[in-house]
């Protein structure tokens, strides 16, 4: 597949929390329509990287460009960026005091000031796509973990983001619910969404990714096409990491 337009560019990104670097000199590009899966051992900085990209963590040095525009430390600018970058977290965090539909509409109505009625119609379409239209009026506590994650995806999608970030969205789910969430993501990928996914589901990574980034101790250790990476990893570290998934 060929991707031409660069949507996100990360250059020489450096991040630390004061006790040693978490991310060191991380540089990569995401093209429009591309699906990149970031994998690596626990604590390698995968989640931190995603959190830097939508400004939940401040970076120490280096830069992030979205649509060719640099995003720095300006808070107003970040709010604008976050509307273009949707994020789904590990701990399916819906707002517990609101119904599913109110959760979904909060962003488009309050942040993007879109007309409530139109946004609601759209929300219904998206809910139908993830098979949860009948849960529209339910509260988060009435949903299973997998259902909550699907709603969280809709909550991010309705903002019409140019880039979607998924931070181990199935890691806290019961095994039988993982599939329903991954299916939704796979479908999004096929539909041409640009996605940056952190996951420990290797089969899924292989199926969904256009490119794999292997992160180890805060650095990009290896990057490549999924087949090449999974079948013939170039680095010793990646070999050992992939071995841990075999029995």
């Amino acid at each position: 597949m060929d991707f031409e337009e660069v949507l996100l560019e990360v250059r020489h990104l450096h991040k630390d929390y004061g006790n040693g670097p978490v991310l060191e000199d991380v540089s990569f590009q995401v093209h429009k329509g591309e699906v990149i899966v970031i994998i690596g051992p626990s604590g390698c900085g995968k989640s931190t990287l995603l959190r830097c990209i939508n400004g939940l963590e401040e970076i120490v040095s280096g830069g992030i460009w979205l649509d060719g525009e640099a995003v720095g430390k300006d808070k107003a600018k970040w709010r604008e960026v976050r509307q273009k970058v949707g994020m789904v977290f590990q701990n399916y965090d819906l707002f517990p005091h609101m119904t599913v539909i109110d959760n979904i509409l909060l962003g488009p109505v309050k942040v993007q000031k879109r007309e409530k009625k139109k946004a609601e119609e759209e929300a219904e379409k998206l809910l139908e796509r993830v098979g949860l239209l009948d849960k529209k009026k339910a509260y988060p506590r009435q949903l299973s973990g997998g259902q909550k994650q699907r709603v969280a995806i809709v909550q991010a999608l309705i903002m019409k983001p140019e880039l979607m970030l998924f931070d181990e969205v199935t890691a806290a789910l019961d095994p039988e619910m993982v599939r329903e969430v991954l299916d939704v993501m796979l479908e999004l990928a096929k539909g041409g969404s640009t996605m940056l996914i952190v996951t420990h589901e290797m089969q899924f990574a292989r199926a969904v990714a256009d490119r794999i980034i292997f992160l180890d101790e805060g650095r990009i250790a290896e990057t490549g096409l999924p087949e090449a990476f999974f079948d013939q990893p170039k680095t010793e570290r990646a070999c050992r990491f992939l071995d841990t998934f075999l029995f």
């Binding site: 709010r79 976050r82 977290f89 707002f95 909060l106 962003g107 309050k110």
Partner: protein, 223 residues
């Protein structure tokens, strides 16, 4: 059997006097509770700030007020202010002031507790959606904090109603003072008036506080 003590309740306007006393009690409590709610909310929000000076000051205030018996505070304001600074507050005004000081400390701590009990993810999810800090507070944090806070705040109000009986000691004619006056006046005609009058007050307090407790319990269950 002619001489039933209970008649003391219905002699003259005795019962009405008790009710008027009760009204003063409720008035002081509600005024103090209302003010405590406003100031306490503010105090609680301030206490969640990361500024260490603000935190230290509010912490000291909180500990002082909570450790000191309300009676000492009451005497300090009512007698102390007058003697030292010539500030002449009425008994009722002193009472409202003291119970507001106390209620603000208690309420502040409840608000702080409710705010910090909201998981950090809630702020992050809101931020990731592009909501501003004020919008996050308004749409996400406050509604959840209020849900947790409501039963606790209501319990504080009942505690306040009960504790206001102390103001009898600075001469406010609330329900306890009215009772004492009635008992004094009937010392010879109805020797066991104390039993009947204080018994009546027992039920008066009960009927004021019980519905409030019920409400709190119901809100707690509703969560």
């Amino acid at each position: 059997m002619q001489d039933l003590g209970i008649r003391v309740l219905f002699m003259g306007n005795n019962f009405l006097r008790l009710l008027l006393g009760l009204w003063i009690t409720i008035k002081i409590s509600l005024a103090a509770a209302g003010l405590s709610l406003v100031f306490g909310t503010f105090l609680g929000m301030v206490m969640t700030l990361e500024n260490s000076v603000v935190r230290a000051v509010s912490r000291v205030y909180l500990e002082f007020i909570r450790i000191m018996p309300q009676l000492v505070l009451l005497f300090l304001v009512y007698f102390g202010l007058t003697k030292a600074f010539g500030v002449n507050l009425s008994g009722q005004a002193s009472a409202v002031l003291v119970f507001t000081l106390w209620g603000t400390a208690e309420m502040g701590d409840l608000v702080r507790g409710a705010l910090v009990s909201i998981p950090r993810h809630q702020y992050e999810t809101g931020t990731a959606l592009g909501l501003g800090p004020l919008q996050i507070y308004w749409y996400v944090i406050i509604p959840q904090a209020v849900q947790r806070l409501l039963p606790l705040a209501i319990n504080l109000t009942t505690r306040m109603i009960k504790t206001t009986s102390l103001v009898v000691l600075i001469g406010v004619v609330e329900v306890m003072k009215a009772a004492q006056q009635i008992i004094e006046a009937n010392r010879y005609t109805v020797p066991d008036a104390a039993l009947w009058i204080y018994g009546a007050i027992f039920f008066l307090y009960f009927f004021v506080c019980w519905p409030i407790s019920l409400l709190a319990a119901r809100l707690e269950r509703a969560q």
